[in-house]
Each structure stands twice: as C-alpha cells, then as structure tokens.
C-alpha cells in the first residue's frame, strides 16, 4: 500500500504580518512552521504504516524550492515518511485549484491508495484542496477526519461535522483530510533527522507535470486589515457587570 501526504509550510500564526507594497501579499520577517493539519496528516500515515506494515509513505510539498525541501525533510522525512516530492511554484501564484491539479498529476504517477491532506492551510484558510483533488481524480473523500482505520481493503473514517460525528466507509483509492483531533503529532528524533538527510526527494517544475494550463483561477487583487475592536472597560464585580449589561449595553 502507498500513502501520499502533504507538507506545506505556513507563517507562524502569532507573527505580525504586514501587507506587501503591491497590496497583494504579505511580508515580514516571520518564522515559518509546518501547517498544523499537515502534521496531523503525516502522523496519521505513519501510524497506519506502523500498525499495518508494508505501507510506503510519500510527502508532497509545493512551493519555493529551498524552503519546501526544508519542510519536507524536517517535518515529514525526519518523522519517518519514506521519501519526498517537491514541485516548485511561486506561493503567490497558485490557488487551491492549481494545487489540487498538481496533486492529481502526482497521484497519476504515484498511484497511491490513500491521499491524506490537512483540512485547511492556516494561512489561506481555504479548506478546498482535498475536496477538489477527490473530484479531479473521481475518488471518494472523507473530510475533517478525527479517526481513520483500515479494515481489509476499506477505510473507516470518523468525521467532525455540524451536530456531531459521522462515520463513513470508503473503498480505496480515496482522499482523507485531517482535523486536529485525529492524533498528537510526534516530534522527530535525532536519528530521524540524520536519516532524513539521505532519503530521496524528487524535484519537479510545474512544466514537467503536463498540467496544460498552469494558471490559477482565483487571484488576490488586494489585501487589507479587518476593522479592529475598541478595547472595552474592566468592571470590578458582578454587580457592575450586570448593571452595564442591562444598562448601556441593553443585552439582558
């Protein structure tokens, strides 16, 4: 069996970001971290491989060459993923649709049985790639997974949905997107970090993939700041709170 997982970097969510000069992107001297949901996806693949044996794991990252390679090695290969694939692209010039089409091309070559992605990127917050990919491939999907089990040739997935938990059974090949409660991602061991340096990492340019039209459908025209909130007042006790809520705020 083969599992394809994702390795995407994102800027640290607590970093102060500024809007770039052209108004279309972000800049700032920020730290990057692995997209949290990718960590859950990677952990899921590793646990399945440990539990069932004979599973090859492959991580795909799309982006700037050096940075993407660093995250594939440190975030995926060092944790135990067998090998990596990087597709070079300019982050600012790809949308979820183009990313899904890249994944679909890689899936055609690699023929994985399972693709496990994160449910969303915590920078763009689109929550689209897994679903787009499943449709491009014509595969079934289970998004927002909080539990994944292999049972014979089938995959049983518990999903976090509105109103509770839904359980689906999918046959392979299929696409799963990971939610945060799926697992507790492991740390890379020192031995894992050493081994990762020697693991294979294949490189592709967008042109190598035969995508046809490698243009995004969605572009950022302008970025902005949301309107902020005025800081309020501190009250000294419950009596004052109740007086404010029923008085000036008129909400009681």
């Amino acid at each position: 069996m083969k599992i394809l997982v994702s390795a995407k970097r994102v800027s640290d969510p607590n970093a102060k970001l500024a809007i770039s000069g052209d108004g279309k992107w972000v800049e700032g001297d920020v730290e990057y971290v692995m997209n949290y949901f990718c960590e859950n996806a990677i952990e899921c693949a590793l646990q399945l491989a440990e539990e069932h044996g004979d599973i090859e794991t492959v991580a795909l990252g799309i982006g700037d060459p050096d940075e993407t390679d660093r995250f594939i090695r440190q975030g995926a290969l060092a944790r135990g993923v067998d090998r990596g694939i990087r597709v070079t692209a300019e982050e600012q010039e790809i949308d979820s649709d183009l990313i899904a089409r890249i994944y679909a091309k890689v899936a055609e070559q690699e023929q994985p049985d399972l693709i496990i992605l994160g449910k969303q990127s915590v920078d763009g917050d689109s929550n689209q790639v897994g679903q787009l990919l499943a449709e491009y491939l014509g595969w079934p999907q289970a998004t927002f997974a909080s539990k994944v089990e292999l049972q014979g040739g089938e995959v049983v997935v518990t999903r976090e949905v509105d109103g509770g938990l839904e359980v689906l059974q999918l046959s392979t090949p299929c696409v799963i997107t990971a939610d945060l409660r799926l697992n507790e991602p492991r740390f890379a061991s020192l031995a894992g970090i050493m081994k990762a340096k020697k693991k294979p990492l294949a490189e592709f340019e967008l042109d190598d993939l035969g995508l046809g039209d490698a243009k995004p459908k969605v572009r950022i025209a302008k970025m902005g700041l949301p309107s902020g909130r005025k800081a309020g007042v501190m009250v000294k006790d419950i009596d004052e709170l109740v007086a404010k809520l029923s008085g000036e705020a008129r909400v009681l």
């Binding site: 969510p13 649709d97 917050d125 839904e166 359980v167 945060l180 007042v233 501190m234 705020a249």
Partner: protein, 324 residues
C-alpha cells in the same frame, strides 16, 4: 446577466437559518451583477424545506430528492448540485460554511470548471474587477479575491450577512431529477452520532456562553445555567474540546464555527488568535478570567478578573434577581 444558485442547508426535515444568510449574499451579488437567484434543496424528502424557502424572492426553488442524497455524501451531492447548476446555466453557486457545503462545493467547482472562494464576508470593487472579500491568516488579514472563471463558487460566512427579508411574493417550487449514478459508488454512510441539545444552534443563537479549558470537568455545570437563563447556545475552545469537556461541534474559532451573536461570554478562555478568529465580531463580548493579562481582555467590551467557579453562579443569580 448573472444567475446564482443558492444551496440550502437543512437537517433532514427542517431548514437551517444560515440558508437565509446565504440568500442575502446572493441577493447582494445578483443586484451588483444584474441577475436573479434560485434556491435548491438536496436530500431525501425535502418538500417541506423547499416550501419554507418560497418567500424570499428566488426565481424558483428546486427540490432535488433522491435516496442517494439522504446523507449528503460529497460525491453524489456535488454531482446533483453541478448538474442542476448546468441545467440552469448558473454563473454562480453559493453555499454557507456548514460542514455539508465545505465538503461538497469544492467538488461542484471542479465539475463546473469554476474557481472558488471560501468563507466570503462581502463584495468589494477592486482595480481588477469584482472582488470577494474573505478573511485569511485566522482573520488577521482580509483578501479581496477575483475569480477568473466564467462560473464562480462561493461559500459565505453566515455571521457576516443579515437574514434575508421576506419578499412578499411566492417562488414556484420545481422538482429536479438527480442522477447520482457512479458518484455514489465507493463511499458508504455508516452512522451519525449526534450531539443532543435543546439549545439553539451556535451559529443561530443571539447569546453564546463559551467556556475554556479553565472550567475543567465543571464545564457543563458552569456554562449551562447561564446559557439556559439567556436562551443561548454553548461554545467552547479547542482546548476544552480536546480535553473532553465539550463536544467537538461546540468549538468556536478558526477551525471551528464562526459566530457573531449579540452577546458572547468568554469564560476561562485565554484568547488565542485561533479562538478570536471565531468570535471577535460578536456585538458585545464579556470576558471572565482569573488572569488579567490574558489577550481576551483586548477584545472584550466588559472584562472581569474573577474565578469563574464563583463569578458565573453569582452572575446567574443576579440576572435572575434583576428579572424578578
């Protein structure tokens, strides 16, 4: 001329109110581009829901009934939505940010060759054409995105739009025959474990009482009496859900639900950016926390430094006293 198709949310028998926020967005979009909108309900036995949607000015309400749509599995759901959109010549498809719409609409976009913008909070004119404004980076920034494809797919953040007003006219209800076919293969619904609650939906409530990890195993004991007194819903932080004090669908935030009620109580919640992303547009925010340095106080209209275990029961009894 634009033709916009709004996909309704329902839970089997009853319409979900967030559909009316999606309709409001569709109206604004149609007004801007000169066109009309239709509404469609997908599922099994959807007649009642379709009837509930005839009063909001849709050119037509489509009832799409099929056994394979009973559980809204993404594959068949997306095929049915896309087939209807094609038959109508729709230029836009609109859904909410319910788990159903988030699951199915990207697949609809692929079937229609459409670009998609998620979680849209408004329309914006940009130098490059009509933009769809959406929060990014956990709501710390907004992006006005333009979609180059002829057909556009949008999910809207319901809390950013009013509920559509009644139109005074009655839209005709039309049946559309879905043909899920192969799209239903290879995915099977096994079961649904629902959270049982008599309280309003988080996304519909005008009061939300949210608790954090600080409430520990007394989460329900502290939040429920206040929520019940005010007719509110209960929300939680990811930490409170992770630790098992609250069910998953109570989570408010970047990766949970986004709410903007008239009154939001943040009780024993530190105010991480990911939590703020889901509640900072509430009208009035009250924070109760024993540590006065927490970031939650930067967004709160009223802050109280206190131990929640004593402060919240006191709040309940004083509101009761005020009312009697």
């Amino acid at each position: 001329m634009s033709k916009i198709l709004v996909v309704a949310d329902h839970d089997g028998g009853a319409l979900k109110k967030i559909t009316l926020n999606s309709i409001e967005f569709a109206k604004q979009w149609a007004a801007k581009t000169g066109g009309s909108f239709d509404v469609a309900v997908f599922g099994q036995g959807v007649g009642v829901v379709a009837q509930a949607l005839t009063g909001y000015g849709a050119a037509a309400v489509h009832a799409v009934d099929h056994a394979d749509l009973a559980h809204a599995l993404a594959g068949p759901q997306a095929k049915a939505i896309a087939d209807l959109a094609k038959s109508l010549g729709a230029t836009g498809v609109v859904g909410s940010t319910s788990s159903m719409a988030k699951d199915a609409l990207p697949r609809v976009a692929v079937r229609l060759g459409a670009g998609m913008a998620s979680d849209v909070i408004g329309l914006a004119d940009t130098a490059e054409g009509l933009g769809f404004r959406r929060p990014m980076w956990a709501g710390n920034l907004t992006g006005d995105v333009v979609i180059d494809s002829a057909v556009k797919v949008i999910t809207v953040r319901s809390s950013a739009f009013d509920v559509a007003a009644a139109s005074g006219a009655v839209s005709p209800v039309q049946a559309f025959a879905a043909e899920p076919g192969a799209a239903s293969a290879r995915a099977k619904f096994l079961r649904f474990d629902g959270t049982v609650s008599s309280r309003p939906d988080l996304t519909e409530a005008s009061v939300v009482v949210a608790g954090g990890r600080g409430l520990k195993d007394r989460f329900a004991q502290i939040t429920e009496p206040l929520a019940d007194l005010l007719g509110g819903a209960i929300g939680a932080t990811r930490a409170a859900v992770d630790d098992g004090y609250a069910p998953n669908d109570y989570q408010v935030g970047q990766t949970g639900k986004v709410v903007a009620p008239g009154l939001y109580f943040a009780i024993a919640i530190s105010g991480a950016v990911q939590h703020l992303a889901g509640m900072k547009n509430s009208k009035v925010i009250v924070a109760i926390n024993k540590n006065g340095d927490e970031p939650i106080f930067k967004v709160a209209d009223y802050g109280l430094i206190a131990d929640a275990f004593t402060a919240v029961p006191e709040l309940v009894s004083k509101i009761k006293a005020l009312r009697s």
